[in-house]
Symmetry: C2
Subunit: 272 residues, 2 copies
């Protein structure tokens, strides 16, 4: 039996007991699949936990449903990153959605997800899904004024994903959205990655008129407090209507969470 530790910063980390480890080197990163005793199978990219069988539902529900419920009638959705397929699975729970594009730079992530994480990836085969193995930056330039919702389900702002957290990139996201489009991005931990969090929100605010931040409890991500930032040029994202989730098969998100979506602890409000 071995232990795998992810260092959240130089000075704090989380450590998991692991039965078995498989490692693959792709063109872009080291991909590891760990069988953990507490969280089930875990996907790790370059040493950072991306998702686990036990708690993946929290991240995938919370990155998807708020934006999809805020969009009037989301038909066409783009997911950038998210090669594990969990976000796609949640997006397809909305019956209005006719087409989902997945733009993932590393096709090995998709192969690994299909092989080792079937409960997360199974909707990647859905005929509504089109997969593009491509850089997010290039893809957006080719697809202007196209999407009702764009979900930035990418890894942390280090290495390959760093450019995805900058004003220039958010401008491309905005151009790829339809007039009443909505964007949502994962924006790190306000407690342990304060600068990345503040920077992402500030860059998004330079581009979009309406910007809101919300949080979710994600035990396997740094500090357990994870942030998402939602943005739209023309949709009033602060108008949180009553929603009906009864057929969506959700384990975390619900109508009370939607109603109080932007409720934040005071110290987080003061950061943005």
């Amino acid at each position: 039996m071995i232990w795998f530790t992810e260092y959240w910063t130089d000075n704090v980390g989380i450590t998991f007991k692991v039965k078995e480890v498989k490692k693959i080197k792709s063109k872009y990163q080291e991909i590891a699949v760990l069988d953990t005793l507490e969280f089930g199978r875990m996907l790790v990219l370059d040493g950072l936990v991306q998702t686990t069988e036990k708690d993946e539902f929290i991240y995938h529900e919370m990155i998807s449903h708020p934006a999809l419920f805020l969009a009037k009638n989301p038909e066409k959705v783009l997911v950038i990153g998210g090669g594990d397929g969990g976000t796609i699975r949640e997006v397809l729970k909305h019956p209005s959605v006719k087409e989902v594009h997945l733009c993932e730079i590393d096709e090995e992530v998709i192969f690994i997800a299909e092989k080792y994480f079937p409960s997360i990836s199974f909707q990647l085969k859905n005929p509504k899904v089109k997969i593009f193995i491509e850089d997010g930056n290039d893809f957006l330039e080719e697809n202007k004024n196209s999407y009702d919702v764009i979900i930035m389900d990418n890894s942390d702002p280090i290495g390959a994903s760093e450019v995805l957290f900058k004003e220039e990139f958010y401008q491309k996201v905005k151009n790829a959205l339809k007039k009443d489009g909505i964007m949502v991005a994962q924006t790190e931990s306000p407690i342990l990655q304060t600068k990345y969090f503040q920077n992402a929100v500030r860059e998004i605010k330079k581009v979009f008129r309406n910007v809101g931040v919300y949080l979710a409890f994600i035990p396997t991500y740094p500090s357990g407090m994870w942030s998402f930032t939602i943005a739209s040029e023309n949709v009033d994202i602060f108008n949180l209507k009553d929603i009906d989730i009864k057929n969506l098969d959700l384990k975390y998100f619900n109508k009370e969470i939607f109603k109080s979506l932007y409720t934040l602890p005071t110290f987080v409000k003061n950061l943005i």
Copy 2:
């Protein structure tokens, strides 16, 4: 430089880089003071993190203010456990409070807090505070029908604190409350200590008519998702009025958090 790891379960833990460690054996437990690089000074009892300088405000605000705002005019408050003084500090922010009793079994915790954690413990010297070095069980039997609010700021339900999570004990808490009294307890992590959490809520529901559960993000506690359970026989704790917190000097709790206090992820709702 060394690392201190708290194992949250047999299979997952959190690990902190530490500059210096001081250890004391009291009559009841091993008390350690760790200088961590990420969270500042940390108090550890029998290997379990109790509080850190960086994130203590979250726990202490969230265990105190919801119950104090729900109580009509809280004048007399009892804190069981809580020898570090952080809960006392928050309780005394309410101008209606005339008297706070602290019932702590281990006076070494108080000495350590006064010596090493002055920013947490400084209100222990306030003339409104009376400290009783006594077992919580015995203390409650001697003080019936006495308190507006009782705060169960004790350690986890293992060892000495196990009896504090049982119906018999909550019955004593109820008897020590005035007619419109309110109790609040820390009730563990719904994700990693599911049985303890469910058990505590179930035992509290056997005793009190109105019981509500709420959560807070506490990065140094297991899973980062921490639960509190609030209970009252006669106060409608679900009637969350507008509150004014402007002079309270709070960093986490605010009026929006109070308004949506009992909003829970669906899987947590399904556990209670």
